[in-house]
Symmetry: C2
Subunit: 237 residues, 2 copies
């Protein structure tokens, strides 16, 4: 995160940013333990819902502090305070404060979190779903996913280290990946598949780059080719 903050500070305020982080080791274990994704079926889950939110707030403070220490005016907007979900997708909400923060020269930061579900009562709003919603609503120049491999590959790159990165990925590539290459497809984490699904919904170029490699964000923002670029048909037309 230190590295990410350093690279963003090279481009801010000339470029505007919204940052979204996930649950990492903070949110996921508690969400799993209390089966939050399944909805509210027994009373004990209520405390689990609150505890998971607390854990995410704790992670959020750690992340934001790193950005603020770099003099970046990062301000947290709590996704569970503004959005209602249904089946893991946002169905209602107001992004008024996010827009205002951007207008005033701040960097809004959101995170995947527990959320109220209109049918199952409680659920999880993942950072990826959150980004897709914001991309569709705010129509940014681009979306950048920071992942732990160099991009999307036909074979799982955490197993096949020499698997070449797919530079341009579109809906047709997805079909190839699933129909011609089911094995490597299921080897890839569900995480990547969800990111691809979400990316294909977005009305802007979506980059998946290795967040562990110093200089990757800088290269990308300077116009170099890094990682995988996903374009939905809407963008390509």
């Amino acid at each position: 995160v230190e590295q990410i903050a350093e690279e963003i500070s090279l481009f801010f305020p000339e470029k505007r940013f919204i940052i979204v982080h996930g649950g990492g080791s903070y949110g996921h274990p508690l969400a799993k333990q209390y089966a939050i994704r399944d909805g509210l079926t027994h009373e004990e889950q209520k405390i689990g819902f609150c505890l998971t939110h607390q854990a995410m707030q704790q992670l959020n403070i750690k992340v934001v502090t790193i950005f603020i220490n770099r003099k970046l005016p990062v301000y947290t907007i709590s996704s569970s305070s503004i959005f209602i979900i249904k089946d893991h997708e946002i169905i209602d909400g107001s992004i008024m404060t996010i827009i205002k923060l951007l207008e005033q020269g701040f960097i809004p930061l959101l995170y995947g979190d527990t959320a109220l579900d209109s049918e199952k009562r409680i659920g999880i709003l993942s950072g990826d779903q959150l980004i897709a919603y914001l991309a569709c609503t705010l129509r940014p120049e681009r979306v950048i996913f920071l992942i732990d491999v160099n991009g999307i590959c036909h074979k799982n790159p955490t197993v096949f280290h020499d698997a070449p990165v797919i530079e341009h990925f579109d809906r047709k590539t997805l079909n190839t990946l699933i129909s011609d290459n089911t094995d490597s497809g299921t080897d890839t984490t569900g995480g990547i598949f969800n990111k691809i699904d979400q990316a294909l919904k977005m009305p802007c170029p979506v980059h998946l780059i290795n967040g562990h490699i110093k200089g990757n964000i800088t290269k990308l923002l300077k116009g170099d080719t890094v990682g995988t670029l996903i374009c939905s048909s809407a963008v390509m037309e």
Copy 2:
């Protein structure tokens, strides 16, 4: 806070609650240092705005943890994520998630915080203003302010320890207090005066009771007379 949580747990879930806390030693010093209440006039205040919000999130985690440890399903809604202010008052916002939390049997918790101001760009939304807004919107059975003295007195009770508590306070009492007793009026903290101003706007009985005295919340919720009761004319009609 341990004591407050214990007493609330005697009445929940039969009674529903919304909890609001202030800035204490966390928010106020930073808000003052960066003159957040004055609005955004120079760039350095941006970091101060973010730091004050962070400090409030840290306090919030401490407070909420105490309630969760008592098995109370307390869930934080971030006021700065849902409200826009103008001159310290809420002028726009959505309380959708607060209503949903109440419906699902949770205890929403909010806190005074930094907020985006429609004219001065940034500002402070105090816990008292927040409570007034929620009281006018949600029309609860009552509002309880936990203060550090036994109630409102004609003389400042932190100086005049034997000053008798005013049991029933209305707009006429306020006039007496200000016109007949300006000295004790200015001795009283602005804090109490703001609470009275806000209380007089609310469409429900407002109690000011000593939060340091064990059993006060319990007594009040059982129907006993404790501290000062403020009724606006709207309530008395």
